[in-house]
């Protein structure tokens, strides 16, 4: 049993990891065919992951409703919304429009999801403004530099800013293209090296936390 629970998954991970890493450098048709098959499987697993995620979401919110935890009514709304959309979606075979006319599923999408997500995005602008007013203060030299850079970028990204301060457009472009890009690149290189190191650790069985139960 230990073999099935520990050694076998480790073996599969190692073989798959090494084979797929090698595959990238082998342009042979057999190698390409392997990639096609594996990616198809990845897509299938992706579909199952979606089912798993939805099931987990249902469980979490069902427990909230059962225990009448704070905000349980929101969980009820989630249940009604999700089940309602699934039923309407199945009823319409997943089609949002037929010959240009909206189906009931399309109606739910266009008149519920689109405005709701749009509203959430729009509200963000108000909270950003309020947060900027309360916390964007030049408390230190570093904060002052950040403040000046932010003001220049904000000015340079809108026509009115460029009209008031004509240099702000070029300055903003320089900040984004030179300062920002170089710092981001350094972070990206660091993150990528970390990902490579972690991948090696997983492939060679050093990192086993993905099997559950932490390191052994």
């Amino acid at each position: 049993m230990i073999f099935l629970r520990r050694q076998l998954p480790l073996l599969i991970t190692m073989i798959t990891g090494l084979v797929m890493a090698a595959q990238y450098y082998v342009p042979h048709p057999a190698s390409e065919q392997l990639l096609t098959t594996v990616t198809k499987w990845l897509q299938i697993i992706g579909g199952f992951a979606l089912v798993l995620g939805i099931t987990s979401l249902f469980h979490v919110h069902a427990a909230k409703i059962r225990r009448k935890e704070a905000g349980w009514a929101y969980s009820l709304v989630l249940y009604v919304g999700m089940l309602g959309t699934v039923i309407v979606g199945l009823w319409n075979n997943g089609k949002e429009s037929i010959d240009g006319a909206l189906t009931s599923f399309g109606w739910v999408y266009s008149y519920t999801l689109v405005p709701l997500q749009g509203t959430m995005f729009a509200i963000l602008a108000f909270f950003i403004a309020s947060a900027a007013y309360r916390s964007f203060r030049a408390r230190s030299r570093e904060a002052a530099v950040l403040l000046v850079a932010a003001v220049i970028v904000m000015m340079g990204r809108v026509p009115l800013g460029e009209y008031i301060l004509p240099l702000s457009g070029d300055l903003s472009s320089w900040i984004l293209n030179v300062l920002n890009a170089s710092v981001r690149r350094a972070i990206l290189i660091g993150v990528s090296l970390g990902a490579v190191a972690l991948s090696f650790k997983i492939i060679f069985g050093v990192e086993r936390s993905y099997l559950g139960g932490g390191k052994e």
């Binding site: 198809k40 897509q43 689109v114 749009g118 108000f126 403004a129 690149r185």
Partner: protein, 281 residues
Amino acid sequence: MTFAERMLRIDRRIIFLVIGLCTLVPLLFPVGLPIKISSEVRGVYDYIEGLPEGSVFLLSLDFDPASKPELYPQAISILRHAFKKNLRVVAMTLWVSGTGLADQILTQTAKEAGKENGKDYVFLGWSPGGSAVILNMGQDLYNAFPADYGGKATKGLPVLAGVQNLRDVTYAVSLGAGNPGVEAWYVFGKDKYKFELGGGCTGVIAPGLYPLLRSGQINGLIGGLRGAAEYETLIGQKGKAVAGMDAQSATHLAIIVLVAICNIFYFSLRRQQRRQDGMGS
């Protein structure tokens, strides 16, 4: 409580009102300030402009309705441009919640340009797997999408004639609001299957994509509403993005003024406290 302290603890509803007015008034009374074109946006425009008729143009609309204000105008402008250039448009999405929106955008622009589904354009829809879909398309497009969004078999569609996988795509643009998006299209698509790639994104994630732009991993970047407004200006069809630039100008300026006011009161309060401390000692 002093005046400066009161101003620093201003009711957030006043700030909300200021931002609300700064958004609403320019939308009702647009000024139409000139928009300067950046080299990033011109990169995408020039590449599409230089493509010969009938080239395969892949547009991946990797966003959901939350990013509609910024990415919807970008998608409309790019599609208008592609249809005007008589390119073969292959559209798809990696975000399941964006499928309906992508379909609406494509149908609307195609109808406007008088293009025919299946012959001039195709909407492949969404397929599970995220980045794996890109890899699968790179190997065999018909394996990843055996049928289009309408359920029609993709094999044999005139728009896909001669297209077997991503290697046959002339130019791809990903309009991404996160992951999977532009980066995924570079890592799993362009890097492996060697096609030219451009990007579009929300204003928030644009700074994160500049390294890809500077290294030539993407040949252009349309960033946020400003990028969309630039593209609308370039194709000479001003739309929602140009209209929104006045509102964005006003809100940016309002935030700058608010931050300046906050700092003025912050420093005056600090000076007051220092003076009091000096008198106390």
